[in-house]
Symmetry: D2
C-alpha cells in the first residue's frame, strides 16, 4: 500500500496498450496531475496536443483479463485559476430543425476559477445577465479507463466497456469506479478534468481545466464485470456507453441486474421488483460519439432489505 508521486512526461489521446508509466500494487495510491482537454497544464502552457490527453497508463500488478480493478478518487482539484468551455449547445442535443440565433460570436469562453470560494464564473459577459453567474465547483474526471480488448486503441473522444470519455458529473472525489480488465496490468489512464459540468455535457465541454489528482487502486482478482460500475456514499451505479441513449441505458440497466446479483447476492425476482420501483437513472453525456447513461440504486434501500455487499 505504497504511495507514489508521478509527473507525466507523455500523454495519449487513445486508450490502448501503451508502455506503462508505473507499476502499482493492490492498494497503492498515486498523486499526479492531468492536463486539460486541450492539452494545457497548470501554468496554462500547451503541454501536449489536445483531445483529452491522458496521464498514464498505470500497470496494476497481477491484473489479468477477466479481473476487475477499482479506482477511488482521493483528490480532484483544479490546479489553476481559469478554465474554458464552449458557449453554445451542440446541434445534436437540439431538435434537428432548430437554429439558435446569437447576437455575438462568443462561442468559446473562459471561466474564472475561485478556489478559495470554490466557485466558477464566466468571463467577458458584462453586458448579459450571465455576468452574475457563480456556480459552485464540483470537480469531476471526464475521461478515464483501461486498455480495451482485441488489441484495440480507442480514441479518448469516445467510450465503451473500457470506460473512456464518459463525461458523467458524479465521477467526483470519494467515488470508486470499477473497470473490467482486458489486458495484463489493466493499464489505467485518466485525464480531462472538469471544474464542473451540467448533465449531458450539452455544450460539448464542461469547464475544462488541469487537475491535481490522487487516486487509490484495488485489484478484484477473479471478479468479472461487463461495464464500468461505481459506488459513492449513497449509491451503487452501473454505466452504459453507446448510441443512442436507449442502448446506453439498456447496457446500464442490464449491468445493474448483474451488479445486484453479483455484489449483493440477490435473486432475480427481488432485483427486478426492487429496480422497477426504486431505480434511479442519470444522463452522463449526450454529446460524445458514445453517450453515457448511469443506472443507480440507493444503498439505504439495499440495506433496508438486508442485502449485504459481498467481499471482493
Amino acid at each position: 500500500m505504497a504511495h507514489h508521486d508521478f509527473t507525466p512526461q507523455v500523454y495519449y489521446s487513445a486508450m490502448g496498450s501503451h508502455e506503462p508509466v508505473m507499476h502499482l500494487a493492490d492498494g497503492d495510491s498515486v498523486s499526479t496531475t492531468t492536463v486539460d482537454a486541450g492539452g494545457g497544464d497548470a501554468s496554462g502552457e500547451q503541454a501536449t496536443a489536445g483531445g483529452n490527453p491522458q496521464t498514464g497508463p498505470f500497470f496494476i500488478d497481477g491484473a489479468e483479463p477477466g479481473d476487475t480493478i477499482s479506482v477511488t478518487f482521493d483528490k480532484l482539484v483544479p490546479n489553476r485559476k481559469f478554465g474554458f468551455a464552449s458557449g453554445a449547445i451542440a446541434p445534436i442535443v437540439l431538435d434537428p430543425e432548430f437554429r439558435p440565433k446569437f447576437e455575438d460570436d462568443r462561442n468559446r469562453l473562459e471561466w474564472e476559477i475561485d478556489l478559495e470560494n470554490w466557485t466558477a464564473s464566466p468571463v467577458g459577459f458584462d453586458d448579459l445577465p450571465l455576468r452574475n453567474l457563480k456556480l459552485p465547483l464540483d470537480p469531476m474526471v471526464g475521461c478515464f479507463g483501461v486498455a480495451p480488448p482485441r488489441g484495440q486503441a480507442i480514441s479518448t473522444a469516445t467510450s465503451s466497456t473500457h470506460g473512456g470519455n464518459m463525461d458523467y458529473r458524479r465521477f467526483v472525489k470519494d467515488t470508486t469506479v470499477y473497470f473490467p480488465v482486458f489486458v495484463e496490468g489493466a493499464l489505467f489512464h485518466l485525464g480531462d478534468g472538469h471544474a464542473l459540468q451540467g448533465d449531458g455535457e450539452i455544450v460539448g465541454t464542461g469547464i475544462e481545466i488541469s487537475f491535481d489528482v490522487a487516486f487509490t487502486v484495488h485489484l478484484h482478482k477473479g471478479k468479472t464485470i461487463g461495464w464500468p460500475r461505481a459506488e459513492n456514499e449513497t449509491h451503487v451505479m452501473a454505466v452504459g456507453n453507446a448510441r443512442p441513449l436507449d442502448q446506453a441505458l439498456q447496457h446500464a440497466t442490464t449491468e445493474m441486474l448483474h451488479l445486484l446479483e453479483q455484489d449483493y447476492d440477490l435473486d432475480a425476482r427481488t432485483i427486478h421488483i426492487l429496480m422497477g420501483q426504486a431505480v434511479e437513472d442519470e444522463v452522463g453525456n449526450f454529446y460524445d460519439p458514445a453517450f453515457t447513461m448511469v443506472c443507480k440504486m440507493s444503498k439505504d434501500v439495499l440495506a433496508s432489505i438486508g442485502a449485504e455487499r459481498q467481499p471482493n
Copy 2:
C-alpha cells in the same frame, strides 16, 4: 375561483375531443377521483375497461388553440389499501440478447399500501429478501393532458405534445404542469395514479392504484408553448415525449431554451452557457410507445443571476 366536486361516470382510454364533463374558469379547482390503470376504483371493483382510463375531460373556459393552461396538483392520495405492479423488467429496457431467468412466475404482484405510515410493501414474497422491502409512498399521476391537434384522439398508452402517458415520477402534489391548448376548452383529462414509481417505469408499471385527487387550473391567455412544462418548489422543467430517448431529450432541451427565453426573458447566449453547465436531466419513462425525458433548471440558480419569472 370556485371549487367543484366531480364524480366520474365515464372514462376514456384515448385523449380527444370527448364531451366535457364540466366547465372550469381560470383559477377554479376540482376534487375528484381516478381509477387505476386497469380500471379498478377505490373499492377495487372494475369501474371501466383497463388501459389508463381517464377522468374528464374538463373544459377550461376561454382556452383556445395557441393558449396555455396549467394544472396544479393540490392533492394526490391513494384511496385504497392495495396496488398492483409488474414483477419483471420489460425486454425493451434490457440488452436485446439478455434473457432473465426467474425461478417463479410471479410476474404480477400486489403491493400493500399503508397510508398511515406512508409506505408500500410487496405482497407474497416471504421466501425472498423482497419481504423486507418498504418504500415510502410518493404518489404521482402517470397519464394526463389535453386533447391533441388535427382532430386526433391519441391512446392513453402513449404521449406527445399534448401530454398523455408520460409516467414521470416528479408529477406529484404541489407541482404545476403546463400544456399547450390545441382545441377550444383545452379538454383536460387525468388518470393512471402511481403510489410510487422508479425512474423509467422499467417494469412497465408503477404501483398502480386509484386516487383521490384535487387540482386547480389556470388559463395563460395568449401564451404559446410547444411541449408540456412544469414547475415545483425548486425547478422549472420542460418535457419531451418521443422515441428514441435521444429525440425526447432533444425536444425537452429545445423547449427549455424557449422556456428560459419566454418565462425568464433571458438572451440566447446566457441561456446556452447557463444550461451547458447547470442543466439537469431526468428519465420519465423508458417503456411506453413514446419515452419521456425531462430537462430541468434550478430556480435558485435562475434567481442568483437576477432572472425573474415573467407574468403569465
Copy 3:
C-alpha cells in the same frame, strides 16, 4: 364484386372512425380521386385544407376487429399537369452539425408532369444543371390505411400499425396492401399521391399531386396480422412504422417472420435461415414522425423451396 364510382365531398386529416362514405363488399372495386397533400384537386383548386387529406373512409362489409383487409391498386394516375415538392433535404436526414448553403431561396418548386411521355421535370431552374432533369413517373400513394384501435384518430402526418403516412415508393399500381382491422368495417382511407419519390422522402415531399385512383378490396375473414403487409409481382413485404429506423425495421422483420409462417406455412428454422441470407430491406420514409422500413422476400425464392401461398 360490384364496381363503384365515388366523388369525394369531404376529406379527413386524421384516420379514425369517421362516417363512412360508402359500403363495399369483398371483391368490390372503386374509382375515385384524391387531392394532393396540400388539399389541391385536379384543377389545382384548393378543395380542402392541407395535411394529406384523405378520401373515404370506405366501410368493408363484414370486416371486424381481428380480420384483415387488402386493397389492390388498379389505377394510380396523376390527373393534372403539375406537382409540387420541397427543394431542400430536411435537417433530420443530415448530420446534426451540417448546414447546407444555398445561393437562392427556391425551397419549394413546381414540377411539370408530362403524362404523354410519362416524365416529371422541375420548373424554374434554367440557370442550373437541374434544367435537364426528366425523371420517369412512378405514381405511388403516400398515405392510406384504416381506422386505428382504442377509439383513436391518428394524424395523417404519421403512421403506425393501421398504415397512414408511410411514403413508401413501392406502393404503386398492381400492388396489394394488407391492413389489420381494428374497427367494424375497417374504414379504409387514402390520399397523398406522389408522381414519384426518392427513397426516404428526404426533402419531406415526393412530387405531390392529385390522382385518379381505382382499387379493389378483399376481406380476409379470421386472418389476423400485426402490421401492414404487401405483395407485388416479385415480392411479399412486411412494413414497420416507428422511430428510430431501428424500431421500424425490427417491426418489419418480425412481421415478415409471422408472414412466412402464416402465409407460407414454413417452420421457424427454415424462415430464420432463409431470411438471414435472402431478405431484402427498403427505406420507406425517413422524414415523417414515424419512419417506415419494409422487409421483403422474393416470391421466386419462396417458390424454389416449394413454399406455397396459403389460402386467405
Copy 4:
C-alpha cells in the same frame, strides 16, 4: 502498375498501424487470400484466431492523411467447398418482446458451396423445406478498410469512417471503394469474405468462407472524403457506419451531398432536388456494433443532366 502475389502469414483482428506486409504504388494490383471470419483457410484449417482476421495491411506509397485511396475488387472467389452461418436471426433485429421458438438447436450450420453451378445450399436440413434451398453465389467482402486516425486500432467487429466491418452485400467484384487516408501509407486491410449475404446480415453472419482475392489500388492525392464511398457500373454510393440506423443514414446522406458536389461539380440546389426524388438507400448491416447504411445515386440519372465525373 505492377502486379504482386502475396501469401499472408499473420492476421489482425483490429485495424490499426500494424507493420505493413507490402508496399504498393498507385495502380498496383495484388493477388492474395483471406481466411474466413472464424480464422479458417482454404483447407478448412484454423490459420489464426477468429473475429474477422484481416490480410494486410498494405502500404500505399505516397498516401498521406487528407488523401483518399481506392480499391477495386478484380476477383472475389470462395476457395473451398463449404461455408458456415448462424441459423437464427439476432435478437437486436427483432421486436424486443418477441421470442422465436425453434424445434431444434441447429443454430449454426454449414453451407455447401458449388463453384461450378455458382450456388450455395444449407447442409443438414433434409427434414425441412430448407432442403430445397439453392441460392446463387454473390461473393462480397464483409470487412475491409484502412488504419483509423488518432493512433487508434479499431476492432474488426465494428466500423467507422475508416471502413471496417460494414457487411454490405454490394461490396462485390468490379466495385471500387474509396477510403479516407488517416495515416501515412493508408494501411489497407481486408478479410471476412461472404459467399453471399442477405440485407442487414440479420443472423449475424453471411455465408462465411475463405476467398481468393485480387484487387487494384489507386491514390487520389489531395482529395479528402469523410466516409467510405463506392462506385459500380450503375451507381455511386456513400456509406455511413454508426448506431442507430438513423445516424448511419444521416452520415451516408450527408456524404452523398459532398460526393455530388466534389465528384460531379453540382450546386447545392441541384443536389438537394435531385436527391429528394431520385436517391436510393440500402441497408448494409443491422447487427454489428455500428450499423451500415448506403446512399446511392444512379449514374444514368447523373449523365442525363450532363453531370460529369471530375478527374481525381
